[in-house]
Amino acid sequence: MTNLLILQGLNGLQFGVLLFLVAAGLTLIFGVMDVINLAHGAQYMVGAYLAAAFTGLAGNFLLGLVLAVPVALAFGLVLEWLVIRRLYDRSHLDQVLVTFGLMLMLNEGVRILWGSAPISVDLPEALSGSIPVWGTLRYPVYRLAILGAGLGVALGLWWMIHRTRLGMLLRAGASNRAMVSALGTDINRLFLLVFGAGAMLAGFAGAMMVPVISAEPDMGDTVLILTFVVIVIGGIGSIRGAFVAALLVGLVDTLGRSFGPILLRSLMEPDMASQTGRTLAPMLIYILMAAILAVRPAGLFPVQR
């Protein structure tokens, strides 16, 4: 039981860190640029496909990953330049529709280029084993690597936002955009940068997940919805909120799926328990979100404006 708890706990953390990578970009894009981007999940998918394609070309996953990240960044920059910058003075509704259309196009574009079948990627030798973590319990090295990389990125983001000039501009932009612009910062360049960085983070998350879940069309949709839940719980625009909420959602979802039916079994018949558990588990994070919003409508860490 302890082993299972640790195992699922690690799984939950790893899932949470992954959600954070996607959510960080989305919450920054909303917080700084006031743009709601439904194509953000598609950028996660694009990252996954890029990694798969480059791994195929280079013959090595790590090289593929390294190549995929800058291309994901370039993709985000082009997308901002072509479409997103036309949305800054539009209503949220227009933004929703345009990015929804973009998402349809990207999902279908991927289907045209690579087909509907999932594309899987093999792990390099060095990362494919598992190591002991607790007594007899072993855990895959690669999943630990994802966890480590995600935490590293989170730390780097925290450092950038709180300790650099760029971060200062981001924080200023999130609380008063017009003032930052009036003080002589090129706000359009800042926006381009934020959008590109967001696309890169989402792409990085997708690229890292390819060996675990393989790339397929529409894979970004589920992640996008979960990311929405994360940033709503965390408080839209707050990186710290996104981090806490991402780990919370990751843990609640993973632990709920594995321990929900076990806990229910002590309350009701086994058949009934597994059926109820299967029904309740996917809904758990939405119930969590509703409960948190009922108490704090602006999320756990609301951004002051």
């Binding site: 973009l102 839209i236 996917p282």
Partner: protein
């Protein structure tokens, strides 16, 4: 008479002889397609009440479509095919779901509201996906067509078309009355200026929640029709892509008017059908069309009509 009303009467007049025209053309299947468009017109009308008149951008409206469809599907699977039971159950279930989720969602505004309604929509989607007794992920075939006091309103594609058209006309008239009533004017007032409405003594929450519930209930009627039309019920009816499509129908048609969403839904379903016949990858040009339409037009189809006057 307002432009919107005249455009609507013209639309009804054009729709009325369509099945005869289609069968004369030797394409009776088009009647079935058009019926589907009218079902979505009902759904889009219901969404317009909250989106256009109440400025509540709900991204989970497909959930109500699904609730209606599953009410018909689950009751039919248990041997209850009468619309006299199915419709009240669908309306009650949709109303209850709308009241509970609406009460939570309406504590927030703007982007929060969009994301929360989206999340609740997905919650309903996952709930239905996990109902393995009723098909789960794969959905289930409708056990029997809905009947009305023993009569068979959906028996032929022709009858189905006119029943749907009549329902659409009735719901249009109902919503026209609602939006022009005192209730409707207060709702529109909270859209324009919430603070001012509060200052003159209205509490927007109750009005918004009521509109949200009415909207969900009307969408569930479209859901019952959709289940009969496809003779199939599946969680995909309530997916978030469907909610996005419904928003596109309303906005591209012209939100805040009752004619716009009807035109938008018809244009949307027909172009979807036409593109799908040309290529399996119809979503690519379709997505591009949505992007370009929003970027380069304002006010939707009805706005374009208005602009030419």
């Amino acid at each position: 008479m307002r432009l919107s009303d005249r455009a609507m009467l013209v639309t009804f007049a054009v729709l009325l002889p369509m099945p005869a025209l289609f069968s004369a053309m030797g394409e009776p299947f088009l009647t079935v397609v058009l019926t589907r468009a009218l079902i979505f017109a009902i759904a889009a009308l219901s969404l317009d009440l909250i989106l256009g008149f109440g400025a509540m951008v709900s991204f989970g409206h497909a959930a109500y479509l699904g609730i209606g469809a599953y009410a018909a599907g689950i009751l039919a699977a248990n041997g209850v095919t009468g619309l006299e039971v199915q419709l009240p159950v669908a309306l009650a279930a949709a109303g209850a779901f709308a009241l509970v989720t609406g009460a939570i969602s309406l504590r927030t505004r703007g982007v929060h509201f969009i994301m929360i309604t989206l999340a609740f929509g997905q919650m309903a989607y996952f709930l239905m996906s996990s109902l393995s007794a009723y098909g789960g992920d794969d959905g289930m075939a409708l056990a029997g067509r809905s009947t009305l006091f023993g009569a068979d309103p959906f028996g032929s594609s022709l009858r189905f078309f006119y029943v749907t058209l009549a329902l659409l006309a009735g719901i249009w008239a109902l919503l026209r009355a609602v939006t022009r009533s005192r209730f409707g004017r207060v709702l529109t007032g909270t859209r324009e200026n919430e603070t001012r409405m509060q200052a003159i003594g209205f509490s927007p929450f109750g009005y918004r929640l009521t509109a949200y519930a009415i909207s969900g209930m009307i969408a569930s009627v479209a859901g019952v029709l959709l289940a009969n039309h496809a003779a199939f019920v599946s969680p995909s009816y309530m997916g978030w892509a469907r909610s996005g499509e419904m928003i596109a129908m309303v906005v591209l048609g012209g939100m805040g008017t009752l004619t716009g969403p009807v035109l938008g839904a018809i244009a949307f379903i027909l172009s979807e059908e036409a593109l799908a016949r040309l290529t399996t990858h119809w979503r690519l040009p379709f997505g591009a069309a949505v992007v370009l339409a929003v970027l380069f037009t304002r006010g939707g189809l009805l706005g374009a009509l208005r602009g030419r006057r």
